[in-house]
Symmetry: C2
Subunit: 197 residues, 2 copies
């Protein structure tokens, strides 16, 4: 017995490419402020195609958030790869976050969505928690390496420091939104690193 033995018409568009457009729109406007009409315009897809392919606004958002987080993590991993030591890798990730905040000119979708949805949307909350934990976990590993290399105070808790980096990122993005002062944020990133000594 063959499943899908007759295929008929194929989709005319690239699913990942259109999901990318949806992701960018949610990123810019936030979940609630993005309407299906906006998505239809931006994705250049009719409602029927969006529902048939992605299921609906909420499922589309969840996939958008997953794509955003996966790409973010790649950005940070790439920045870390070029570094000469674990501490340099951590510094490179912090620099990358600041660079992103001021060039992309919109706040991290993960942070934005945490404040918008964590309390009201259990499904989104679970994903936000998981993706944040993944970023913290990546940083924690680097911090342990830096501690082993005696670049970071080995008496301080690695997970706490890793979380504090992510905590600072949220604030960096807020400061970018409100004051758009890159020098000030770079100065704060030095304080952040001082707390690891």
């Amino acid at each position: 017995m063959y499943l899908c033995s007759i295929m008929a018409r194929n989709k005319e568009f690239d699913i990942a490419e259109r999901l990318g457009k949806a992701k960018d729109l949610f990123w810019e406007k936030g979940y609630n402020a993005t309407s299906m009409h906006d998505l239809v315009d931006t994705m250049k897809l009719n409602p029927g195609s969006i529902y048939g392919t992605f299921g609906g606004k909420h499922q589309l958002f969840m996939e958008s958030l997953k794509m955003y987080c996966a790409q973010s993590l790649v950005h940070y991993e790439n920045a870390a790869t070029k570094a000469k030591s674990p501490l340099d890798a951590i510094k490179a990730i912090i620099q990358k976050a600041i660079e992103r905040a001021f060039t992309e000119d919109k706040a991290c979708l993960l942070v934005k969505s945490s404040f918008e949805l964590a309390k009201s949307d259990a499904e989104a909350h679970a994903l936000l928690k998981q993706e944040s934990a993944a970023l913290i976990s990546m940083l924690e590993k680097l911090i342990r390496l830096a501690q082993a290399a005696d670049e970071i105070n080995p008496n301080k808790d690695a997970k706490t420091m890793a979380t504090f980096i992510v905590v600072s990122f949220a604030g960096f993005w807020q400061m970018q939104l409100l004051f758009n002062d890159e020098t000030m944020v770079r100065n704060m990133s030095k304080l952040l690193l001082d707390s690891f000594r």
Copy 2:
């Protein structure tokens, strides 16, 4: 010539009290997710009374945010007043922020609204910027006092440290929303203070 020489009917409700109800609703749900119908229910006022008194949803939100920020500042000032030294005052404010995050169980309206509205609502952006600057300014003064008393490193920039406290608050609220782990946040607040040494 008399303006309002004839007064006729007076308002049946207390404006500040109903504004407080609106503030609590915006605080819980965020601007976009709060509907006028929600406000009518919560404020126990008809649409006509809300429009006649406050002007509309946006103006009502702006007044709600002002009220929230004024009350926040009072909370922090009260916490600081009881302290024995400038550094103790700063510590008390940080403790108060964490205590608020975990007892109120919803993120600071100023932080939430920064991520929701800063990029799309110029009027809200101006107010958010102003209110954040006021909090930073209050902390900066305390830091300068602590530096004069040699409780905080006098070689570090007071404004940067003050801003870094507010930056950390944003992240503390995010962590409360996602992980609800008060111990972790308290540990991070120790790192924050370490960065001032």
